[in-house]
Every structure is written in structure tokens, then in C-alpha cells.
């Protein structure tokens, strides 16, 4: 049985639950998990129950990396580090917005831990508000599409590049829709000494507005359209990419989700979609995906 036990309160088709399960599949029992506040934290630990089959701590929204670095320092100081892996698993808001400073500090200090960002591209736990992980033109409850707006006007923050700039020995992107690839990368990240990072694309059926049975399908479309490139970076250099055969137009990905539906009904939507296509084209060129 998975170390993330069944019976938790995740939605049917929940990307976070998949991510949590894959992470624990990858690292096994000898780990300590730190979660910031978020869906994964809330739905796995309704007191007095817990879905975690490994030691787990949640402190606050913005401090998971600092807490993880404290856990690491404690184990080192007490001579208990052995092979224990310290894993932080946070959402996009906890990672890219409110927790960014603590992450920067922990990576700069070089703690031996792995930070996993489960990026479902908005504050889903609090009601689908925009984060800096929200892609351009996604409609959220705080960046809604309306007569005068196509939704979120800003590009997604390039978090893996920020972490790579800290000199991290290993940074990778992954997707819950490609489980073996994700598990391999998490395993690799955990095995490498020092602060490592895996940024996991995680389609949220509730927030992105698609059927819970289509989480994997939507996740694959993100990769197949080159909107979510899968790559690995070692010491700041891209060392591996997942090539795309028969790349699909971004419309196929956008159409599958309610958060982009206004782009297909609003006047001028087609022109705006071209901007999203340009992002995908840039990814193809930059990472050599074809």
C-alpha cells in the first residue's frame, strides 16, 4: 500500500493526492515530510486522523523550506541524519509567492533536502485565487475573465530558473500525468546531496474546471502542446528534455478546461490565444523539445 494512505479528503481526480503518492513511492519510508499550508496538508490530516505513513510536519503557509532546513540541521546536530531524506511538498502559492524568501534562504544555505512544488496554478485551497503560477489568461476568482478582461494578464513565474540560479545541483520539471518520469526525478533529486528541486505540473479538476476523470489527460495535453516542458537541470545547465512527437496546438489544451473557455467565446480571443501559442513555441525552441 502507498505510504500516503487512502481515506483522505482529496477530491476525486485530485492532482495533489497523486503527487503526494508518487513522491512517497519515490523516496520510501526513510523520510521526513514538511508541508506548508495548502490542500494536501488540509485533506490529509483532519485531526485526529492522518494519511501520512511517514513523519510529517505542517507549520505555516510561508515557512516550509525554513522548517525543513531546521529539521535537517537538527538531524545533523544530533547525528541522526543517516540516509533520511527531508522532503518539502508545497503548492504554487506557498512556493512561488509567500514562501519564496524562505526557499531562497534554504537553497542558499545548501541544506540537504528536496523541495517539491506541486503546481496547480492557483490558490485552490482557498477558492481558486490567482498566484504567480497562474498562466496567462486563466480565469480565477481574483483574475476573472470579464467584458474588459481575458483573465490573468501576467505570465507564469519561471520558478525552476530561480532555483537553478541559486546553484542547486538538481532542478527538474515533472507532471503528475507522467508518473514514471516524475518518480524517477524525485528519486534522483532525493539521492543528490544538497538542496534539490522538482516542479510538478498538477492539473486541478476543481480549479481548472474539467471532469475529475481527466486529470491525466489534461496534464498530458500541457506537455504535448509544449506549454509544460519536461526537463532536468544539473548545476544550472539543461541536461535532459522530454522530446515531443507530433506537437499539438495549444487550443487542444485550453479547450479541455473551463478556466480558458472565455478565450473561445470573447471577441478577440483567437488573437490572445496566439500569445499563448507563442509561449509554447518559445519553449520548443528554448529547450529543444522537437
Amino acid at each position: 500500500m502507498s505510504l500516503l494512505k487512502p481515506g483522505h479528503r482529496g477530491c476525486a481526480g485530485c492532482c495533489d493526492a497523486l503527487a503526494g503518492k508518487f513522491v512517497l513511492d519515490a523516496v520510501g519510508e526513510d523520510c521526513i515530510v514538511v508541508s506548508p499550508t495548502g490542500c494536501l496538508e488540509v485533506f490529509t490530516t483532519p485531526y485526529p486522523e492522518s494519511a501520512w505513513g511517514v513523519p510529517w510536519i505542517h507549520s505555516l503557509f510561508e515557512n516550509a523550506a525554513a522548517v525543513a532546513s531546521g529539521v535537517e540541521a537538527a538531524l545533523k546536530a544530533m547525528g541522526k541524519m543517516n540516509n533520511t531524506k527531508i522532503i518539502a511538498i508545497g503548492g504554487d502559492g506557498a512556493t512561488m509567492d509567500i514562501g519564496l524568501q524562505a526557499i531562497s534562504g534554504a537553497f542558499e544555505r545548501g541544506h540537504d533536502f528536496t523541495y517539491i512544488c506541486v503546481d496547480n496554478e492557483a490558490y485552490m485551497n482557498t477558492g481558486i485565487q490567482r498566484s504567480s503560477g497562474t498562466p496567462m489568461y486563466a480565469s480565477t476568482t481574483t483574475s476573472p475573465a470579464g467584458k474588459a478582461s481575458f483573465g490573468n494578464p501576467l505570465n507564469k513565474k519561471n520558478m525552476p530558473a530561480i532555483i537553478a540560479a541559486h546553484g542547486s545541483p538538481y532542478v527538474a520539471t515533472a507532471s503528475v500525468a507522467y508518473a514514471p518520469d516524475m518518480i524517477r526525478k524525485v528519486k534522483k533529486a532525493a539521492a543528490i546531496k544538497g538542496p534539490t528541486y522538482v516542479h510538478v505540473h498538477a492539473p486541478c479538476c476543481t480549479g481548472w474546471k474539467f471532469e475529475g476523470s481527466k486529470t491525466i489527460e489534461v496534464g498530458r495535453l500541457a506537455v504535448e502542446t509544449a506549454l509544460w516542458p519536461l526537463y532536468e537541470m544539473e548545476k544550472g545547465e539543461v541536461t535532459g528534455v522530454r522530446k515531443i512527437k507530433n506537437r499539438k496546438p495549444v487550443e487542444e489544451y485550453l479547450k479541455a478546461q473551463g478556466r480558458f473557455k472565455h478565450l473561445f467565446t470573447m471577441e478577440g480571443g483567437a488573437e490572445e490565444i496566439k500569445k499563448i501559442q507563442a509561449t509554447a513555441d518559445w519553449n520548443v525552441k528554448h529547450f529543444g523539445l522537437e
Binding site: 519510508e29 526513510d30 523520510c31 521526513i32 514538511v34 496538508e41 488540509v42 490530516t45 483532519p46 485531526y47 485526529p48 492522518s50 501520512w52 505513513g53 511517514v54 513523519p55 510529517w56 510536519i57 505542517h58 507549520s59 505555516l60 510561508e62 515557512n63 525554513a66 522548517v67 525543513a68 532546513s69 531546521g70 529539521v71 535537517e72 540541521a73 537538527a74 538531524l75 545533523k76 546536530a77 544530533m78 541522526k80 533520511t84 524568501q101 524562505a102 531562497s104 534562504g105 534554504a106 542558499e108 544555505r109
Partner: protein
Amino acid sequence: MRHRMVVVEGSYAVAHAVKVCKPNVISAYPITPQTHIVEDLSQFAADGEMNCEYMNVESEFSAISALIGASAAGARTYTSTTSQGLALMHEALFNASGMRLPIVMTVVNRALSAPINIWNDQQDSISQRDTGWIQLYAEDVQESADMTPQLYKIAEDEDILLPAMACMDGFILSHVYEPVILLEQSLTDEFLPDYSPEFVLDPKNPMSFGAFADPSTYTEFRYKQEKAMGVALKRIEEVAIEFSEKYGRYYGGLLDGYMLEDAEIVIMAMGSVIGTIKDTIDMLRKEGERVGLLKVRSFRPFPADEIRKALKNAKVVITLDKNISVGKNEGALCTEVKACMYNNRDVLAPVIGFMLGHGGRDIPISTIVKMINKAKLVEKGIFIESEFADLREDLA
């Protein structure tokens, strides 16, 4: 046993006390503003005198957050902060207490911005009153240092498990050079048992820390923190006595009295101003004035019963506060002392609150005499509720 006195900076005395308590993890952030305590500790670590992880984190928020992780992993932990840094920690302070992690922190009391000011008052720690941390206030450098092992012993008691602040006045105690006895390693090893918590993050015995609690369970978490504070009320007294038996020094447990027995006017205060008050009392006693002092050492837990007992014979009570609740025109000690008397018939003395010493303004004997003279007006029916004691007329 003879103790050797040395003249050192207050910060050094505290850092040395921390060292002999053997924390596993120390984390600290330099500015906002920090003191020499953490500089001295990092030097001890650099010299190999401490077997600990010293973490240079990127903010006070991460300083306390890292200790939350380290404490949950079973480490003895320490940090020191002051004013803005403590304010930045605010959210995490509740978290450390709610998770029952016995972190010990020295708070070097300093004023909060704006206007920006780096000098002493106690607004910083008083503003963290409700975070669920034990708060003791030290009178002098020796007490500031000696509080450290006392607080580890109290905080780590398995029936308490609450984080604790040792509060010492900025500059007046942190930067002053005083003759002190540095805590002996051998005595401290005997006084302070190793920290071996029952609940830790351990892959061999997985536990979940910091779960989500809904309305059906949340209240009882708060109730149990309050119960633990009740246990701390007893332990603070006991540990102060255990400390005096081991080291030969005693500063009171929850409270300490000076010339209190027959005092008609009782001054209550916390921190370094106690020394000035004692000098004032000595002076006035020579003139036949029946003035006494009730030093409040423990502000959290608040020793309400003990205060009522101590004030039984008082005719007037004066409270000194280096803080203010703006909009209440009172400091916290004044409010709380009055509140603890309200449903009680034993003490009928009026309480007069004075706010002073804000942002490092000096509190000379003359100011204390002035307050005592104002308190005497109560006999003539003139009653002051609460006021600033040291306002500059030209700026007010």
C-alpha cells in the same frame, strides 16, 4: 563552592549561559536589530566550543520557523531576537506554542517602529502576550543569564511543553558590562536534564505534527495550552528554588517582594527598572515612607493569586509599564493587575498606572519619586487612573 566573578557584557553572559545549556540548533538573523548574543554564540561555534548547528537564516521569520522544524525533530533549540524581529515572528510564535515545542528565546526588549528607535522598552514582548509563550522578565544581567537554564527546565517539562521567552531590557542589560558569575558547565549539567521528548519526527515511528483541527477539536488544544501554563505557574517557583539550591542565586519565582511586608504604597514593575525602584525605596524608607516593591518576574503565566496575596496590605498600588495599549491609555501590567483584583474582596487598593521609559527614555529616581507623590494624593481623594509619567511638556 566559591564562584568567580567576571566583568562581561550582558549579551556575553547570556550567550555563555546558552552555551552551557548545550542547544543542538541555534538560528538567528542579524538585523532589526540583533545583539551580541548571537555573535558570541557564533564565535563559540566557530571555536568548536559548542557542538551545535548554527544557522544564519534570511529573516527572523525563518529563524523561528527553522527552530520549529528542529524542535519537532527532537533538538534543543535557541534563538534571540528583539523588537522588529520579534514582531516579524508573530505568526510563528502561535504556531510553536500550539505545537507544544519548548523553544527558548532571549528577547532583548526594544521599542517598535514607527518612529524607528533602537532603544529599550517592552512593547515588543508585551505585544506577544497572547501567543502562548512563557514570559519571564529579568532584573539584571545575572538574572538574564540564569533564566536560560531555568527556562529550558520549565519549557521542556513533559507536563508543560511550551516555548519560553527570557526578556531582558535592551542596552540597559544587553550592552552593559556588569560583574557576573558565568554559569558553570558542571552545575548546569546537573541542573538541566538532557532533552528527550516523547513526540519527535522519526521515520521509525511516524507521527503527524501540525494537523488540521475543525471546530469539534480546536478548543481543547487551546484549553490544554492553558492547563500547561497552570502547571508552569508551579514549576517556575520550584525551578527558581532548585536553581538557588544548585547555584546559590535567587530572584523570586513568579514574583519577588522588596520592603513589601508593611508597605502602604506598592510599586509593581518588570525588568531592569527594578534596581532603580529599590534605590528609590531605600532612600524614601530612610525618610520614614512605607513604600515597597512587588517585582513581576512572570508575566505569562500571570500569577494572579500570588499578586492578590502580595498586595493584601497595600493602600495604593502603582504599576509601571514600558509599553502602551494605544486607545486604552494603559500599559499591560496596569490592565492585568486591575483585572486580577476585580472579582476579589481581599484587595481593595486602587491601582494607578504610569507609562514611561518608552523608546529608551531614562527612568531616574526623581521620576519614581514623582509617581509616588502622585499616588499619595489618593488619600486626599485625588485619583489618577493612568498616565504617561515622563512626558516632555514642550513636545506633548
